[in-house]
Each structure stands twice: as structure tokens, then as C-alpha cells.
């Protein structure tokens, strides 16, 4: 009754190479001899020990897994997209807090982490090739380096987070920076004149007050402070009620009027000084600067969780690789793990400039 002839698929000869694009409505090739018990296995399945019973060929299994991992990556992108969306909304509405906050980040450490992840992506891709060629030893080495790089990344991140805890640059009510913008090395080296100007103004503005200013009541090191954060949001470093405040304001404004646009611009961009110099009464911190750090910790934290998940997957792959399970007929898991890892790397590639390299 049937009039269709079974077409030989070119797919089955190409399983050592990258899979054909998914989604084409081609019927898969029927394996010839089906066992009467309907398992569809017969000699086909015993020849390929890693071929699952419900697939007809290693190629079909590989293609299915490939489509599956790509779908998983798509939903991961959508998962992060919400946070990128929040970032976009807040940066569009409050650009100054992003400029202000990024000086608190260590660009060097961020760049190191970027390189580390790029190297790990290289070794991951290389591992796929090793698996395809059945090169067990090289495969084990490359997976190991990938895992090592992942740990280095986490280590650098830990250092950064610890520094932030020490610095008090945390989220929400816990935002309590120990250093003002113009005291930071990153700002001083980029904008030395602006930093000097800010220091002069600060000297006038906080004349007669203890050294640590603008932090509410808390003094001393921020790292061990266990007192609950004040319920009111952090206010701009307001003038702490000076009787001669008028005089101070005039002195500050004369300094500002003498300064060049070049010198003022970084301070205006970071929300330290108002755009209209004559309306400025002193240096301020952007009122909602903590938003940046909330977003920073959420995004990098979520990313870090994905790095940890990747480490677990790679350790699993390492164990399988050491047992010699991968070869030209079976390298799917390495391929899929590497794809996931590339996505983790790609998310960082987006995070790094958006958080660290703000102009």
C-alpha cells in the first residue's frame, strides 16, 4: 500500500561535523531491520552504546539535543533580559547614578575576569573538538582548564564583593560608602583636576566636621558595623547646619565659577554638582545611588550562580571524559555544555561594559 521510497539521508554521513540546521521537516531515515518486538533496536542500538532507545540514529539524537540546548539558551537570555530591561529603564531615567557608581568598580578586575572567561570559552570550544576526535587526554586537559578559569573568575568576583562590603557600597538601605567619589583612585586618575576641585570644595563644605562625612551617624569602618541601616534613604551629603552656610555657599560657588567646563563636566555627569552651578550649594551624592549597586549585585550575582552551575556541569563532563565515553559517535554532552558556557561568557561580555565601562 505504501508508495513512498525511503530516501537515504546525507545526515548520517555527517555526524562528525556540525549538525544541519534544525527545523527542516525531513522525515528521518528508517533503520532497516526492526526487531519484531518493536524496540526498533536490533543491532543498530548495540552498535552505539550511547544511543537512547527512542532515537533511531546517533545523528537524530545529536540534532535533538542541539535543538534542545539552543532552546534552553534562548530562555536563559529571556531570563536575564528582565534585568537588562530594569538596567535600561533606570539608566535612562537616572544616568548620573550610573556614572557616579561605576567609579566604585575596579575596571582592572573586571577586565581580568573578561579575559579569564574568554580563555575558558576557548578551552571549552577546543574540548568539543577533542571530543569529536576522541582525543581523551587533551579533552580532559581542556575541560580542566575551563573549570580552573571558572574558579579564578569566582575568586576575582569574591574579592570584588568583599571590597564592596568593606567600602559600604551595597544595595538599598545598606548603601553607606566609606569614600566619596573624589577620594576614589579611579576618579582621581581619570579626572585629576575635577578631583582636586572637589576636594577644595569639600574642605570648605565640611569645615569643622569630623573627617568621615555624609554617612549619617555611623563612623568608623563599615565592614564590621552591625547596626541596622537607618530607615530613611541616604540623603545627599547635605550641609550639616552651619550658621555661616551662606558664606560657605558663596565661597564654593566662586570656586565653581572659576573652574573650567572641562573640570566641571565629570562632576556634573556623576550628579555631584548640579548642572546649573549657581543652584549648587555644595557637593552631593545622587540620592538613589544605591540603585546601581542593587542592580550590580543582582546581575553579577545571578551570573555567578550560572557560573557555579556551569562548573558543576563541567565537573560532570570531566568525570565522563576521564572514563573515555566521548568519541566521534558521541560528543553531544560536551557540545551542549560548551554552548551553555559560551552563553555564560556572552552575558558577562554584556555586563562588563554596561557596568564597568560607563562614560
Amino acid at each position: 500500500m505504501t508508495d513512498t521510497t525511503s530516501e537515504t539521508q546525507s545526515n548520517s554521513e555527517t555526524h562528525g561535523h556540525s549538525a544541519p540546521p534544525p527545523g527542516e521537516p525531513e522525515p528521518h531515515e528508517q533503520t532497516e531491520a526492526h526487531a519484531a518486538n518493536g524496540h526498533g533496536g536490533g543491532h543498530g542500538h548495540s552498535q552505539y552504546p550511547h544511543l537512547a532507545h527512542h532515537f533511531d540514529s546517533p545523528q537524530q539524537q545529536f540534532d535533538a539535543g542541539k535543538l534542545g540546548i539552543w532552546l534552553f539558551l534562548v530562555q536563559e537570555v529571556l531570563f536575564f533580559a528582565g534585568l537588562f530591561c530594569a538596567y535600561t529603564v533606570y539608566r535612562a531615567q537616572h544616568p548620573e547614578i550610573f556614572v557616579y557608581a561605576h567609579y566604585h568598580l575596579d575596571t582592572t578586575m573586571g577586565a581580568v575576569n573578561t579575559c579569564v572567561l574568554l580563555v575558558s570559552s576557548l578551552t571549552a570550544a577546543w574540548a568539543v573538538r577533542n571530543a569529536q576526535l576522541g582525543e581523551k587526554n587533551k579533552l580532559v586537559v581542556n575541560i580542566s582548564i575551563t573549570i580552573l578559569c571558572a574558579f579564578v573568575f569566582l575568586g576575582v568576583k569574591y574579592k570584588e564583593y568583599a571590597h564592596k562590603v568593606h567600602e559600604g557600597t551595597l544595595w538599598g538601605h545598606h548603601f553607606n560608602p566609606q569614600h566619596e567619589l573624589w577620594e576614589l583612585d579611579s576618579f582621581k586618575s581619570k579626572h585629576p583636576e575635577s578631583a582636586k576641585l572637589a576636594e577644595k570644595i569639600a574642605a570648605i563644605q565640611f569645615e569643622g566636621q569630623p573627617k568621615r562625612k555624609g554617612h549619617g551617624e555611623r563612623e568608623g569602618s563599615g565592614a564590621e558595623a552591625k547596626a541596622p541601616a537607618p530607615k530613611t534613604p541616604p540623603l545627599p551629603a547635605a550641609m550639616a547646619g552651619a550658621a555661616d552656610s551662606d558664606m560657605k555657599v558663596r565661597r564654593i560657588q566662586s570656586l565653581l565659577l572659576q573652574a573650567s567646563d572641562e573640570t566641571l563636566r565629570p562632576l556634573v555627569a556623576a550628579g555631584i554638582i548640579k548642572h546649573n552651578v549657581l543652584a549648587t550649594t555644595g557637593l552631593e551624592r545622587p540620592a538613589t545611588a544605591h540603585i546601581f549597586f542593587g542592580i550590580y549585585f543582582f546581575m553579577t550575582g545571578l551570573h555567578g550562580i550560572h557560573v557555579i552551575a556551569g562548573i558543576i556541569v563541567w565537573i560532570w563532563m570531566l568525570l565522563k571524559a576521564q572514563r573515555g565515553q566521548f568519541g566521534p559517535n558521541y560528543f553531544g554532552p560536551i557540545d551542549y555544555a560548551a554552548l551553555y558556557w559560551h552563553l555564560v561568557d556572552l552575558v558577562w561580555i554584556y555586563l562588563f561594559p554596561l557596568l564597568y565601562l560607563i562614560h
Binding site: M1, T2, D3, T4, S6, P22, G23, P25, P27, H28, Q30, H34, A36, N37, G38, H39, G40, A52, H53, H54, Q60, D63, A64, L67, G68, L71, F72, V74, Q75, E76, L78, F79, F80, A81, G82, L83, C85, A86, V89, H94, W171, G172, H173, H174, P233, A287, T288, H290, I291, G294, I295, F297, F298, L302
Partner: protein
Amino acid sequence: MATTTTTDFVSPEPSTTDNYLNNEKGLLSWLLTLDHKRIGVMYLFSVLASFALGGTFALLIRAELWTPGPTLPGVTADMYNQFFTLHGAIMVFLVIIPGIPAALGNIILPLQLGAKDVAFPRLNLMSYHVWILGACFMLLSLVLGAADTGWTFYTPYSTMTETAVIPAAFGAFVLGFSSIFTGLNFIVTIHKLRPKGMTWFRMPLFVWALYSTALIQVLATPVIAITLLMLIVERTLGIGIFDPALGGDPVLFQHFFWFYSHPAVYIMIVPAFGVISEIIPVFSRKPIFGYKFIALSSVAIAILGFLVWGHHMFTSGQSVLAGTIFSAITFLIAIPTAIKTFNWLATMYKGRIHLETPMLYALAFLWVFTIGGVTGMFLAVMSVDVHLHDTYFVVAHFHYVMMGGSITAFLGGLHYWWPKAFGRMYNEQIGRIGALIVFVGLNLTFFPQFILGSRGMPRRYYNYLEEFEGLHQLSTIGAFALGLGFLLTAYGLLSSLRKKFDAPANPWGATTLEWQTASPPPYYNFATPPEVTQGPYDGYENLEYDEKIRGYVPTKA
């Protein structure tokens, strides 16, 4: 026939040999199974149990609303808020979203594709266990001081209330991943495991529906996941993303929430469309009218569903321009939906109608879903919605589409595929009476709510004006009648499980592939993989009823 062309066609008589239900015994053989049919059965019972729990809360709500003010002893207004929150959260996240895809789809999809299993059986099992984990967190919320925010978790209340929001939100977060992995599994299965000869346009419409649903599941669910995560982080760490005092924006939550939750309602209804598309041709003995239009309209609804979330937010303060655009695109969704409805009617026209229970549910669906859908269009008109938002009109609308749509179709599909999945015919008389009571009950429950809403009764209110009492009481009577209908239906189905396997392979005379194997199927589904040579609804004329086995067999010609 659109069936196998090999000679070892499985005997159409009731199965006396091993099938997937009895080939292995013991609890672990179920909890650790990789068989999609067993996983589907487990989902079925889990979903139905959740439905009973969510329904109990519904009855508590309706009982409380019998009179204005306090009615049930010991039920305060705060407790009432918890009732409707749990009712909504359980029904949405535990019942309707997994519902048809996880319970019916898991059993039937590979069978309709002539496949041995879904693409990733272990992922499938994991989806189920993740569902259980999510359900546990929901129950945890129940015992720890159930959330009282409404299932929509709107900020700023949800970030401030002392009730157990975090377990409920985390439960929904976990359940989201169950949904994502099921969707992922189905997409790959449909792409890669179709049989020889089954091109895209020879797939059954249930498969098209599951495919469209799966696309939404994979693309939309991660957004609710991150939203709920943001809510949890906001509650625990005080990041301030939704708190105006810290520079955040509570309406942002609504945008994030509805960006998923609108497509989610299409996750709820599109599989139901698929079930109806399966039942109507069979019980009209006529191929479906407009196959391609129905198939592609599912995809169109899936896509358009992503563009209309703002119609839940007409009164949130978003700009009139935004509201207008959302309103206009919402109107567009009526088009593919109406196309389906007209095509179903056209299928029935000049067919030979058989009024068995599945068809009764399908006919009920046509009536009730149309009411629900059309009232959705009333709400899509921005100027009308401004008056009806947060009234009982909205409650009536979504219950008509979810109860009258999804649940009705679910029950129809459950009766349709019951003999295939369990190898026994349910009691047809009980099935029909149950269907009738359910139909009357749901109309009696929810139609008065349209009137209540248009006269100003707000939703989620424990107390109300005297003038609304009569309509509320009608609605409450209807709710209890509905409950009775469900109980009767459940009895009719479950009591069949005490019989021996007596169902033939093809009791309804359908032409899709799942009917070409025994009822219930062996664990490997098909003795030989079928080949497909024609459309999924062609060939009714080649089947005839055999009295002896009380099922359909190929004609001897």
C-alpha cells in the same frame, strides 16, 4: 488510512497483554519512570488533586459571599484575602498552566507522532519532580501564613505584607521551570521525532496547539521567573527596585508580571483549542474544515499574545497612547480565535454528529468560550475597561474562558483519551450527566458575575452592598452545583479503573496515530513505527464499527 502500512498492525481488540500500566510494579517504577505515559498519568492525578484543593478554596470564597459582611464563622476579611490568593495561585500555577500539556500532552503527543517517547525522557521526569517541588512550596505558604496579595503579587503590598509571600512566589518560580522544560521537550519532540511522511501540515491539530503553547512556555516563562526573583530579593534584601522611597517603581512590577502573564493565558487556552480540534472532526465523522488556518492561527495567537500585556494595566497610569496601542492589538487576537470557532462550526455542518461525552464537552466549549472571548473584547475597549477593571465583570470573563474554556476542553479530552490511556471505557451515562451538571453549574456560577460587575461590584471584596446579595447567592448555588458535577464526573471516570481492560484500540473511530495501537499502549508505543501517507483527519470512510469489540476497525474492502 493515515496509519501504519506494515502488516503487524496491532490487534484492535482489548489488550490482554502487557501494557505500560502493568509492565512494572511498585512505587519507584512510577516515581523513577522514563515512560512519558506514566509521567503523564502522574501529572494527571497531581493536577486533579490540585484542582480539588483550588476548588475547595473557591467554595470557601463563594460560601463566604453568600451574605454581605462576615458569613462563615471565623473567616475574617484578611483570611478571605488569603482564600482568593491561594485559589488563584493554585489554579493558575498548579492546574491550568501545566494542565492539558503536562497531563494529556505527555501521554498523547508521542503517540500522535508514532514515536517511542518525547525527545528528552529524563528531562520530562525532572519536569514532574520540579512540579512537585513547586507544589510543596505553595503548600508551605499555606501553612506559614498564606499570602494575601492576590495571585498577581502586586507591589508595593507584596513587598510589605507580613504573610508568606516568599514561599508562594518561590513556588511559582520553581513551577515556571517545570513549564519551561516541558515546553522545550515538546518543541524538540515535534521537530525531530515526527514519523516518516508526517510533514508539518500532516500533524494533528493537537500537536500544532502543543507546539504553539510550548513556544510561549519557553519564551515567556523566564520573564515571570526573573520577576518573582526580583520580588523575593526585594523582600529579603530591600534592593528597592519596586519601592518608590528608594527610587524604585511599583508599576514596573506590573509590566514585568503581565509580560509573562498575558502570554500565560494563551498557554492555558491554546492546548484547549487543540483538544477541541481533535474531538469535533471525530464526532462529526468529517475532516476538519480549514486545517491550515486552524494550525497557523495557533501560532498567530502565540505571537500576538506577547504584544498585549498592557491591557491589564489600562488604569495603572500608563500613557493613553500606550493603552490605545495595546487595545488595538488586543482586538487583533479576536481574529485567529474567531477563525477557529467558525472552522469548528463548519466542520460540524453536514456531519453526522455523535453526542458522546467528549462531544458534549466540545459543544459546551463552543458556547461558553465564545461568551468568555467576546466579553474579553468588551474589556479590550479601553474606555469600557476603565469602568469594568477590578470588578466582577473581569472575574466572570476569565472564569468563562478558563473554566468554560480550558477546563471544559480538559474534561472533554480526558474522556476522549481515557480509554486510550487507561484501557477502560468510562461510564457513558455518568459522563453525560456530569457534563450537563458542569455546564449548568458553570453558567449559573459565572453569568451572574457579569451582571454584578457591570453594576459595580468590585472583585476581591469580602463585603458588599445589600443590593448584590441575590446575584451572589445565585453564583454560590452555581458553584456548589459545579462542584457536584465535578465529583460525579470524577466518580464516573475513576470507577472505571476497577474494571478489567475492556477498551478497544479505536473506540471513537478516529484517524490519528494514537488510535493505531492498543488501549492502553505497550510501553514502547508501537510495534513498528508508523508511516503517514495522508492528512490526520482523512479516512473516516475507511473505518467501520465492530459490535463485538465495540470499537472501529478498518473496513474490509
